[in-house]
């Protein structure tokens, strides 16, 4: 911080917001069971709100939709047509559209808590949530693939690339196995978690900097405008990230499913 070298005695140095305060403000005990009650309340509240919204939207499935039905249908139609049917094709797409849309809406709302005043904590920055979702997707696409192709048929589908000179398989089969079977849940979980964790950290740092400089009451207080503008910009940036990460997670889940349902590599 700009004012750091000349901090007077009466003024405490800028203390960057720490992880515990930002993400685990209210653990139960030492936090090994529940690391933040607030995050869990937001999680449950988010699920309740999603259900309430979609129940209201689908109460009368009219040919001419009301405003709320149109909103609900738009969300469902976006994932159903833009992700599920686009990636998985007609019959499989319709079959998986509901799950993929649930995944998308759940992740988006859990991300979006980051930007809701008073909540301001992305539930997906708690690693348990993206880890669970990633493992769920991993289980689903592997089980679907094994049920369709059999265990060895599925392994061959995921690791064996046809039309390659045979010595290359010594190299390629382990790489394909690693990238398609082993690493996918980690990349899925870490991508979502890290984006939300870092994004929230960015906004918190900018906001804390604004408050620190604004309450400095000296000439350099005027510099509070810089982190202030940054925090406003970051909120919009985070809004984009919330939607983008939910979309990416859903899209990758659909692509992995498609890989398992495909007839050949």
């Amino acid at each position: 911080m700009i004012s750091a070298p000349s901090v007077p005695a009466y003024r405490a140095a800028f203390e960057p917001p720490d992880v515990t305060h930002s993400f685990f403000p209210d653990p139960i005990g030492n936090g090994t069971v529940i690391s933040s009650v607030k995050a869990m309340v937001l999680l449950v509240l988010g699920v309740v709100l999603i259900i309430a919204f979609f129940m209201a939207a689908s109460r009368r499935a009219a040919v001419q939709p009301s405003k709320i039905q149109f909103a609900g249908e738009s969300v469902y139609g976006f994932v159903r047509n833009g992700v599920a049917i686009e990636i998985l094709g007609g019959p499989n797409g319709r079959k998986w559209a509901g799950f993929l849309c649930t995944l998308f809406v759940f992740i988006f709302v859990m991300n979006f808590w980051e930007l809701v005043p008073l909540a301001q904590l992305p539930v997906t920055s708690h690693f348990a949530v993206p880890a669970f979702l990633a493992v769920l997707v991993w289980l689903i696409y592997n089980i679907v693939g094994i049920r369709k192709h059999g265990f060895f048929g599925y392994l061959k589908l995921q690791t064996y690339i046809p039309g390659v000179p045979w010595p290359m398989h010594i190299l390629l089969i382990p790489i394909e196995f690693l990238s398609n079977i082993v690493l996918r849940p980690f990349t899925l979980a870490v991508r979502l978690f890290a984006n939300m964790f870092a994004g929230h950290m960015l906004v918190v740092v900018a906001a804390a900097g604004t408050v620190y400089l604004f309450t400095d009451w000296r000439a350099n207080s005027i510099f509070f405008v810089l982190p202030f503008i940054a925090s406003i910009g970051l909120v919009f940036f985070e809004l984009m990230i919330c939607g983008l990460q939910a979309y990416v997670f859903t899209l990758l889940a659909a692509i992995y499913l498609e890989g398992s349902l495909a007839d050949s590599h």
Binding site: V33, V47, S58, A61, G77, G98, F106, H126, A128
Partner: protein, 174 residues
């Protein structure tokens, strides 16, 4: 709290997976998947299907209307052609009829003329015959009178008188 202190501290770790959070996430997500799959997505699919059907039904109805209009046009055209044909026939008939009437009239006029001419001829003939008869009678009587005056011969005898007249007439005719 410095980062060294933080790492040393017993407490929540960013990459930790607290078992309670995991369980709550699983339950919440399972409930969400179940409720939405049971009550929401089928309703949306139903609305989509109803809408598609409404649009396709509309298209079908429009197609039907178009076909009906086409059939009506065809029928109308057929009727028009029929009417034209009929009009032509009527005109043709009228012309033929007019011709027949004209011919009839011409024939009857000719017949009438012939009849009048024939009647005139007959009348003329009969008048001539009458005149000839009358003349013959007169001439005979006059001739006999004249001759009796000249000859003094009595021609009282009818037979003789007739013979004489006839001879005279025969001479007259030659």
């Amino acid at each position: 709290m410095s980062s060294v202190q933080y790492l040393a501290a017993e407490g929540p770790q960013p990459l930790g997976v607290p078992i309670g959070e995991l369980i709550i996430s699983i339950i919440a997500f399972a409930v969400l998947v179940f409720v939405l799959a049971k009550y929401v997505w089928p309703m949306f699919e139903k609305a989509y299907a109803a809408r598609t059907e409404a649009i396709e039904g509309g298209i079908k109805k429009a197609e039907q209307a178009q076909n009906e209009a086409k059939a009506a046009l065809e029928q109308y055209n057929q009727q028009l052609a029929g009417a034209r044909e009929e009009a032509a026939k009527i005109r043709e008939d009228a012309r033929a009829q007019a011709q027949a009437i004209k011919d009839d009239m011409l024939a009857s006029a000719k017949a009438e003329a012939d009849r009048i001419a024939a009647a005139g001829q007959a009348q003329l003939e009969s008048q001539r015959a009458q005149i000839v008869a009358e003349l013959r009678g007169d001439l005979g009587r006059t001739s006999v009178d004249l001759a009796s005056k000249v000859v003094g011969e009595s021609l009282e005898d009818d037979a003789l008188k007739r013979r004489t007249v006839e001879r005279f007439l025969a001479d007259l005719e030659h």
